[in-house]
């Protein structure tokens, strides 16, 4: 890959994604980059915004290599600030809006954030007022020491993922993101003629999508509510060519009872979690559009897209994109990809490291292959089908829940001796979190449930809170390592033993 430095008054770097935005602004100065409700901004205006934001960020004390949290809703400002921080060779760490204060504090500490930028004024926070911004931003400087393992090559840390069910913080470099957007576009084929209706949270989806759209001069239409009417109106009003959403949105769209179509779309992509076959069929029947499933891995990028056979191979995530290679590792070491096994990929744009604990990618990869933790197989045409996961991550309508994080919060309660969090299927959300809990003290179960719910509500985003709490006498563990076995523990106390206090 080759990216040269962006020309800013503040910083010089060897490789920087902001340079791509500058090139787009040169090539498509008057093209609308982002539409956000009644606001819109062209690429030349966006680039000017980015450049002018670097000064107040610098004055606030942000420097090269600093890890900066961005806690903003989807907006022009979110994109502008991200590129402005990249111009300064700072590292962007998205903080999802739905996280609770204890979760944010954990993230700030674990990732050694030097500042958090948000719309919320907090004590000591410095306001940044920009004429093109939707409002004042506030920069709260933190006292975390700089992590010297994170260099100016770093662009982005996604506080997520890891194959063991623990949050690790995935570090991506400018070069790595550049490589993965080039690879992704061999399947997405985004050009300046495209208009993308965007309904996903930028805190969860940015590096391989928004950056790609901006690098190609496409127009991004932000739709900040998920309802069918809003999405249909946004597509038709803007003659959008691409819809990028999750099955939850497609479920709402499929249930729309009007006769309105999405005629301008050339593709509807579904990501983050498996698209149920029945939903894909319902959407196809309603809109005559086959939803193309996208298989993305934060550690590697978008590796498969089912654009060619979305209608007749509904459950498949497609063939690997040209730059990626796949192998399926089965228990009997059979090399055939047609056999069910663990899905591994290799290709460009690998993550640089996990941040917590700091582990270089090269120490995670196995001979250059990344083990996704997903189970699947390929058909005779090389189309990949994902059948399950061998890790414990729970996917609630595309939002990842890490059992270890939820168990840690549950275990903070004096009344909880031990807890185990695992997934169960749900008709609308795909999966939900369920907890098995061993009580440390005898308590009426309703009272225990209320205590647990109150504690979780204070400490966890809602989608992470177990939808069902079962009280059990013990949690199963592996005999040798003593690790919790994540799954339903039989002998649920609600049924196993009478409790007169219920």
């Amino acid at each position: 890959m080759m990216i040269r430095e962006p020309e800013t008054s503040c910083q010089n770097t060897d490789q920087n994604l902001a340079y791509l935005l500058r090139i787009t602004a040169q090539n498509y100065p008057n093209k609308v980059a982002i539409i956000d409700g009644t606001r819109s901004i062209t690429y030349s205006e966006l680039w000017m915004m980015v450049q002018s934001l670097t000064k107040p960020l610098m004055e606030a004390g942000i420097r090269e290599g600093a890890c900066i949290g961005i806690r903003l809703p989807n907006s022009i400002d979110y994109i502008g600030l991200t590129y402005a921080l990249w111009c300064m060779s700072a590292v962007v760490v998205p903080i999802a809006m739905e996280l609770k204060l204890p979760e944010i504090n954990r993230l700030c500490t674990t990732m050694s954030l030097q500042a958090v930028i948000s719309f919320s004024p907090s004590e000591g926070a410095r306001p940044v007022i920009h004429p093109q911004a939707g409002g004042a931003y506030y920069i709260a400087m933190l006292s975390s020491p700089k992590d010297h393992r994170i260099t100016s090559a770093a662009a982005f840390i996604r506080f997520s993922s890891g194959t063991t069910g623990r949050c690790k913080g995935v570090l991506l470099t400018h070069a790595g993101i550049y490589d993965r957007i080039q690879a992704a576009n061999k399947g997405l084929h985004i050009t300046a003629d495209d208009t993308i209706v965007w309904v996903l949270s930028m805190a969860h989806h940015f590096a391989a999508t928004i950056v790609l759209f901006c690098s190609q001069g496409a127009t991004i239409v932000l739709v900040n509510n998920p309802l069918a009417n809003s999405i249909i109106e946004a597509v038709n009003r803007n003659k959008a060519t691409i819809l990028y959403a999750v099955p939850f949105h497609y479920a709402l769209l499929s249930a729309d009872r009007t006769a309105r179509m999405l005629a301008s779309l050339r593709a509807a992509f579904s990501t983050t979690t498996a698209l149920p076959e029945s939903l894909a069929a319902k959407f196809l029947l309603r809109y005559n559009i086959a939803i193309a499933q996208v298989y993305g891995i934060i550690e590697l990028g978008l590796v498969c897209i089912n654009t060619s056979h979305a209608a007749d191979k509904l459950p498949s995530v497609g063939q690997p994109l040209p730059d990626y290679r796949i192998k399926i590792v089965s228990d009997d070491n059979d090399k055939s990809t047609s056999k069910l096994g663990t899905i591994c990929f290799t290709g460009p744009g690998f993550f640089e490291a996990y941040c917590a604990p700091f582990t270089l990618a090269q120490d995670v990869l196995e001979d250059g292959w990344f083990n996704t933790g997903d189970i699947g197989y390929c058909d005779d045409d090389g189309f990949l089908y994902i059948c399950g996961r061998c890790n414990d991550i729970i996917n609630v309508a595309g939002e990842k829940v890490f059992p270890f994080e939820v168990e840690t919060v549950l275990n903070e309660l004096d009344c909880v001796k031990e807890a185990c969090v695992y997934r169960e299927t749900h008709p609308l959300f795909g999966e939900i979190a369920v907890a098995d809990v061993v009580l440390a003290i005898p308590l009426p179960l309703n009272e225990a449930r209320a205590m647990i719910h109150e504690h979780c509500t204070k400490n966890l985003a809602m989608y992470k809170i177990p939808a069902v709490i079962n009280f059990v006498p013990e949690i199963s563990k592996t005999p040798v390592t003593g690790k919790i076995i994540h799954g339903r523990h039989l002998q649920d106390m609600d049924h196993a033993q009478p409790n007169p206090e219920r």
């Binding site: 809703p73 989807n74 999802a96 809006m97 739905e98 919320s120 309904v199 996903l200 949270s201 900040n224 509510n225 998920p226 309802l227 069918a228 009417n229 809003s230 999750v246 939850f248 949105h249 479920a251 709402l252 499929s254 249930a255 009872r257 609630v396 309508a397 939002e399 008709p427 609308l428 959300f429 939900i432 719910h453 509500t457 985003a461 809602m462 989608y463 809170i465 939808a467």
Partner: protein
Amino acid sequence: MLADIEAEIVGYLHMVIFDPSVLIERDTDLLAAGLDSIALLNLLLFIEKQYGVCIPEETITEETIRNVKNIAALVYALMPPDLTVQS
């Protein structure tokens, strides 16, 4: 009962979904206040946990989700009859 549901949903939205500075009342326009995808997901999960009601996707429209009054009425309508007659 309906008033209780409204009060609980207002309390939930105020405590969990929206910034404390946002005033949420039973007829506040939630979409204008910024109810996004994840906020809606969280709200639906809350309703399911609190009332044992799974809202069908065909009823999730701008009209039903627009304010707490409409959401509570939908929840109430979907609750089993033996629960709705308590009060």
